[in-house]
Subunit: 383 residues, 4 copies
C-alpha cells in the first residue's frame, strides 16, 4: 500500500546508487516515520551488474530498461543515479508516469534542460528532490539555523571552495563507468557542474540569490583517452573553475573548484563572514562547525570548534544517532535527506532542494560558463 510505503525504483547502481540505498535502509532505523521505504527495483543496462547490485542491497527485482521501471505501477518514486546526460529524459518520463523523483545532482546538463524538468514535475504535481546532500550534514544544517536566527547580522563575504586532486595525471581516461565525469558528453561540464554545484546549492540556501559574477575556467590537460572507445579525444570539461560575484544581499562571493589541488581529496569548505558572527565548515572534518562570535567576551573571543555531535535538539539530526562525541559519516547526510523527504510527504510539503531550487543552481552554472567564455561580468538570471 503506497500510503504507508515509499517504493523506490532506482536507475543506476554506482557510487551514488550505494549511497542512496544505504540511506533508504537506514532511515527507518534511525528516523522512523509513518512511511516505510521499500527497495522495489533497480534498472541498468548491464543485467548482471544490476542483479548483483540488487542482491547486495536487497532490491526486489531488476529491469534492463529504465523505461519499464518508470511505468511499473508498484513503484512510487524514481531515483535517478545515472550520468548527467540521462537525467532529463528519465525525469520527464517519470513525471509523465506520475512518479515522485529523487534526482542526483546536478539536476541537468544545462539550465534549459533543467527548466523542462521543473515544468514536468510541477505540471505532474509530483514530489521531487535533488541530492545536494551536504545541506544535511548536521554542521551545515546548524549553520543554516544560526543564519536564519539572525545571529550573523549583515553578511559581507561568502567564500566556498571544492578542491580535489585526482585528475592531475594525464593518463586518467575520460568517459565510461569510473570516469564519465571527465567526458563532457556525459557530464555536461567539469568541476563546475560536479563540485561547484554543491557549493552553489549550499550558498543559495544559506545566503540567498547570487546577483552577478565574473568567472574563469581552465582545462589543464587538453586531451585524454576515452575509456570506452580507446581514442584520444580533446577534453571538453573545465578542470578548474572560479568566480567572483555579488549576492543579492550585498555580500561578496568568491567560489573556486578544481581537481588539480594536490593534497585535497574532497575539500569542500565554505565561510560566511557576518557583522556579528562568522562560520566556517570543511567536508574533511564534516562533524565540526567553526564559529566566531564577536559578542563573546573580549579576552576569550576566538574561533570555536563546535563538535556537532550532541544527541540533543542543539545539534540537528544528532538526537537520533549516538552519544556526544561520536560522529556520523558522509553517509548520514543521505539518510537525513530521505528522512526529511518522508516527513515532507507526510506533511504534504515540498522538501528542498526541489527541482526548482536546483534549477536556480543551473542558472548560476550557465552564467559561470558564459562569463568564463565571454570574459565578462554577467547578471545571474533568477528562475
Amino acid at each position: 500500500m503506497a500510503a504507508s510505503e515509499l517504493r523506490i525504483g532506482m536507475v543506476g547502481y554506482g557510487f551514488m546508487g550505494r549511497a542512496h540505498s544505504n540511506a533508504y535502509k537506514q532511515v527507518g532505523q534511525f528516523f522512523p516515520a509513518g512511511r516505510r521505504v521499500v527497495l522495489k527495483a533497480v534498472a541498468a543496462r548491464d543485467a548482471a551488474k544490476a542483479r548483483g547490485f540488487a542482491d547486495q542491497w536487497g532490491y526486489e527485482s531488476v529491469e534492463a530498461d529504465w523505461r519499464k521501471l518508470v511505468q511499473r505501477p508498484d513503484i512510487d518514486a524514481i531515483d535517478i543515479c545515472t550520468p548527467n546526460n540521462l537525467h532529463k529524459e528519465i525525469a520527464l518520463a517519470a513525471a509523465a508516469a506520475g512518479k515522485m523523483i529523487l534526482c542526483e545532482k546536478p539536476l541537468a546538463m544545462t539550465a534549459a534542460d533543467g527548466k523542462e524538468m521543473v515544468d514536468a514535475v510541477e505540471t505532474a504535481g509530483v514530489p521531487n528532490m535533488v541530492w545536494y546532500n551536504y545541506r544535511r550534514i548536521p554542521a551545515v544544517t546548524l549553520a543554516k539555523r544560526l543564519i536564519d536566527d539572525g545571529r550573523l547580522g549583515k553578511v559581507f563575504h561568502y567564500r566556498a571552495k571544492f578542491l580535489q586532486d585526482w585528475t592531475i595525471k594525464p593518463d586518467v581516461p575520460q568517459g565510461g563507468a569510473g570516469t564519465w565525469r571527465l567526458d563532457v558528453a556525459e557530464a555536461g561540464s567539469g568541476v563546475s557542474g560536479d563540485l561547484l554545484a554543491h557549493c552553489i546549492d549550499t550558498a543559495l540556501w544559506l545566503n540567498g540569490p547570487l546577483a552577478r559574477l565574473s568567472a574563469q575556467t581552465e582545462t589543464f590537460v587538453k586531451e585524454r583517452t576515452h575509456a570506452v572507445t580507446g581514442k584520444v579525444q580533446p577534453v571538453g570539461i573545465d578542470d578548474a573553475c572560479a568566480f567572483l560575484g555579488t549576492f543579492a544581499n550585498g555580500s561578496l562571493a568568491n567560489f573556486e573548484s578544481t581537481r588539480y589541488a594536490r593534497g585535497h581529496k574532497a575539500l569542500y569548505t565554505f565561510e560566511v563572514n557576518g557583522e556579528h558572527m562568522s562560520l566556517f565548515w570543511d567536508l574533511h572534518d564534516l562533524h565540526r562547525l567553526q564559529v566566531f562570535d564577536y559578542r563573546d567576551d573580549g579576552p576569550i573571543r576566538g574561533w570555536k570548534s563546535v563538535h556537532v555531535t550532541d544527541n540533543s535538539p542543539d545539534h540537528p539530526y544528532m538526537a537520533n544517532w549516538w552519544v556526544p562525541g561520536l560522529a556520523v559519516g558522509y553517509d548520514a547526510s543521505f539518510t537525513h535527506q530521505v528522512a526529511d523527504f518522508l516527513k515532507g510527504l507526510d506533511e504534504g510539503k515540498p522538501v528542498g532542494p526541489t527541482f526548482r531550487d536546483a534549477y536556480q543552481t543551473q542558472l548560476v552554472l550557465d552564467a559561470i560558463l558564459d562569463s568564463a567564455k565571454t570574459q565578462r561580468w554577467v547578471d545571474v538570471p533568477q528562475g
Copy 2:
C-alpha cells in the same frame, strides 16, 4: 541454514543494541561475504520496548527472557548488550548452549568473572568476540599496520586518555536505563571499566603487555540519587582513574580517564612515540591519523595529518566505502568488526579481541583498582 547465515539473538536494546544492529544490517551491503546476518530475535524484560526495538530494526521476534533466547535452536550467536553485571551469567548460559558469543565490553565485572567466561567459551569451543570496536576505526587499524611493519622502531612512550564531561553535575542520577554506568552494582567500576578499558584494549593490541603500574582513582561526587529507587546512595564508582606504568617492551605508560574534563565529549586519544616514528589518534577526529616520520627530509619534517579515507588498500576497510575525502562515522567500526568476525568464521580462525584478549584487559583493570586502593605499584598478572 546456519552454514550460509549467522542468526543473531540479541540481549538488550540500548545504545549498543542499536550500534550492533546497524552493523549487522550494513555488513552484507558493504562487506559482502559468504555468510548472511539474520536478525532473529531480541530479548529484554520490558516486552513493549523489545517489540518496538524489534520492529524498528527488523528483528523477527522477541523474547522476554534471555534464557529462552539462548536456548533457541534457530539462533547461532548471542549478542550481549546488557549492563555489565549480566554479562557473565548470559555468556555462561550461551556457551553451555553452544552459541557463539559477541559480548559488549568490558567483558566482566572482575577478572575472576572474566576467567570463568573464557573457560566457558573455550570449553564449549564457540567463536567469541568482545566489542572493543575502536580497533577497527580505519585510522586505528592503520596504526596497527604501521607498528606491525616495524616502522616505529623501539617504542619509548605510549599515552592514552579517554575524557568526558557528562557527570559533572551532582544531580545526574546513578542506576537505571541511561545511567547504570554510574551505579557500581550494575557497572562494576566507573571510568576504568567503561573508558579506560577501551584504551587498554587498544594498547595491548598495539604495544603488547603491560608489566606493572601505579594507579590513582577519585570519586568527585560522593553521593547520587538512584534513578530507580529514588534514594540518595554513596557513589561506588571511580569518577576519574589514571595510571603510570611500564610495558613489557620497556616503554612507559601514561593512561587517564575521567568524566570531569569539561569540554571533552568522548575524547579518546592515544600516542605512541617510537624511535623513528610517532603516531597519534583522536576519536573526535576519528578519520585522521597523525604520523611523524623522523626519516622524512629534514626541512619538511613534521606531523602529517593523514585523512584515512582512500578507497584503496592503503587505508584499511575504506575500499568498501566511498571515495577519497569522504569519512565514515563511529558506526563503521562495528560494521568492520562484524565483517571480520564473518571472515573469521569462514576461515575457521578466531578474531580478536576474543574473550581471552578481553580477559587480559580485565587483569589490567583489576590491577589498576588494586593499585589505587593499596597506593602501591603492582605487577600486572599475565593471563
Copy 3:
C-alpha cells in the same frame, strides 16, 4: 666611519617605525655582520613625539623636517615610515642626496609614482629596498627554497588571502595617525595597497609574473568621519578587493583581501598547488609551513605541519635564534630583512624586494583597480 656602519635616518615613528627600529637594534646581536647599524636620527613634524620616540629607541637626534634629514652627511640610509602619500617625495629627495633608501610598502600611491622612484634610485645608484617583510618569515623563506628546488613540479594554483575585521564598525574614522589607511588621500587605496600588496609581493617572488586578471572591489561603509577635520566624508578606499587571474607559468590566481571578515585579525594565507607538492602558510601561525608531498608513501601521505624552528640550516634564519620548538615572532621578519640588506651591502648585491620589484607589485595593483573599475579582464603590464 660609514664603511663599518649603516647610519639610519628614519622618517616617521609609528607602528612601522617601531618594527624597523627593533630590527636595527636586534640585527647585530642575532646576525652579527661587518656593518653596525647606528640609529642616527628620526624626523617628524611633531617634535615632542619625535623626541619621545628617539629617547625610547635610542636615536641620537631628531629633525622636525625630513628634508633636513635627507641632507645630513652623517646619515647613510633613509627609512621611510610615513603614510603612503609622502613616500615619493621623500624617496626622490633621498636618492638625489645619494642616500640608500628603505621604504615602507606599498612603494607608491600609483605605478607611475613608483616608476619615478625606481628611476630615481637607479639613476642615483643607491641601494634600495621595500619592507615587504613577510618574505623573511622563516616558513615563507622555506617555501621559496622548496619551490626553487623544483619540488613542486608544474604549478596549477596559487591562492592568497589577507583578511581583517577592524573596520566593520561605521564609527571608525578615516584619516590621521591611527586611521590614515582609511583615507584615500593618504593611503592611495584601501585593502589592495595595504594588504593585497603583501600577497602580491610574495606571489611574484614565489610563483613569477601575473599575466592577467579580473578584479572586484567593494566599499561597504560609504562615509566616515575624518579623524582630523571631524567632517563626514565619502570613503574613497576599497574595503574589500579580490581578483582571479593567470600567472605567466599557467597557474591560476585567486586573491582576496578585506577588512570585513569577522574573526580574522591579520589572516594572511597563501597556498600553492603543484603537481608533486603543495604548500600552505598562515600568518596567524607564522612559524609553521604546511606541506603536502605526493611522493610520500601512500598509507601515510598527508599534510605535514612543519614547525619551522630548527636551529639548523634546514630552517632559514633559525640557526641564529633559539632551540628547536621555540618560535620567533612577527618582529623577526624585519630583523632578517635588515640582516640580508647588510649582507647585500657587504657583497655589493641588490637585495629584494628592491624598488624595481615593488614597482611590479604597483603595476599589478593598478591593473586590479583598473579591472575593478572597468569590469574587464586586463593584462598586467610587465615593468
Copy 4:
C-alpha cells in the same frame, strides 16, 4: 646612578645569556619604565668567548671570575646563567654582596640547596627572581587571569607535559657546553629539573600547592660519552619522568616530561579542567589559548582558539607590541619578565617567581625523585 638604572652583571653567555640579554635590551623600548637597564659586565672562564659575547650584546666589560663580578660596586643585579651546579655558590656570594639576583631555573640542584639560597636572599633583603619565563607568555598570563577571576569554578584536573626528542640517539654526549643538561653532576637531574620544573612552576602558580604524588622515572640510554673527558660514563639523569598526584584544592595532577617523544621539539602543554571552563595551552603555538566555556550557548559551544594578540588590555602585555594578529615569539616572555621586575623595583614589591616560589618547585622535584626511587606515594612538603 643606581636609582634610575639597573646595572646587570651576567654570569654565563649561553642560550639563556642571549635570551636574557635580548630582554634587557628590548624592555626599555617596549615597556619603558623609570629604571633603565644597563649591561655592565659579563663573567665567564673563557675570556675570549666572554669578550665576544660582550661585544655582540653590548656589555661594557668582562670578568674572568664571577667572584669579581659580584663584588663590583657598579653592578646592581647578578644574572645567573650557568649550569645548575653553580647556582648556589654564586647566589650566596651575590646575596652576601647585597646584589639583587635573577637566577636561571631550576633554582638549585636540590631543595636543601634551594633553601640556603632563599635564606640568603631573604636575609640580605635583596630583590630576587627565577627565570621561569613561561608565566609571561601572554596566553599563559591570560590563563592566570581567567583562573583568578574565578571563571573555572571548582577544578577537577590539571595536566601538563613537556616533550622533546633530541636525546634519542645514543651518540649524543653528556657534559660540556651544549650537553651539560645530560650530565647529572652539572644538571642535578634530567628532564625533571629541566622540563618538568617549568610545568610545576606554572601549575603551582595557576592551581596552588601540590599535596601528594606518585612518580616514575626512566633512563633509556644507560651510558653516554662525556663531551669533555671523552670517557663513556653511566647516565645519571632521568630521561623521562612522570607523576600522578593531588593538588591541595582536590584536583588531580598528571605530569610528564621526556626527551624521547619523537616528533616533539619543545611541546610544553598544560590543561586545566574546571567545572565551568577548561583551558589548554601549547608552547608550539604559544600565541594561542584554547578555552572551553560551558556557559556558552549550547548549539555553538566548543573549544575557542583565542589568538592572544590584541593590542588592548584584553590580552596581557600585547598592548605594548604590534597590532592584532601579529604574534610575539618565545623571546618576549623574557622581556615581559624584566618589565615586571623593573615595575616591582619601582613599587617596592617582590615579583614572582621569587627564590621562595622556586624553592617550592624544588620541594616538588625532590618529592618526585624520592617517590620514583622508593616507588611510593609521598606527601609534598610545603616550604
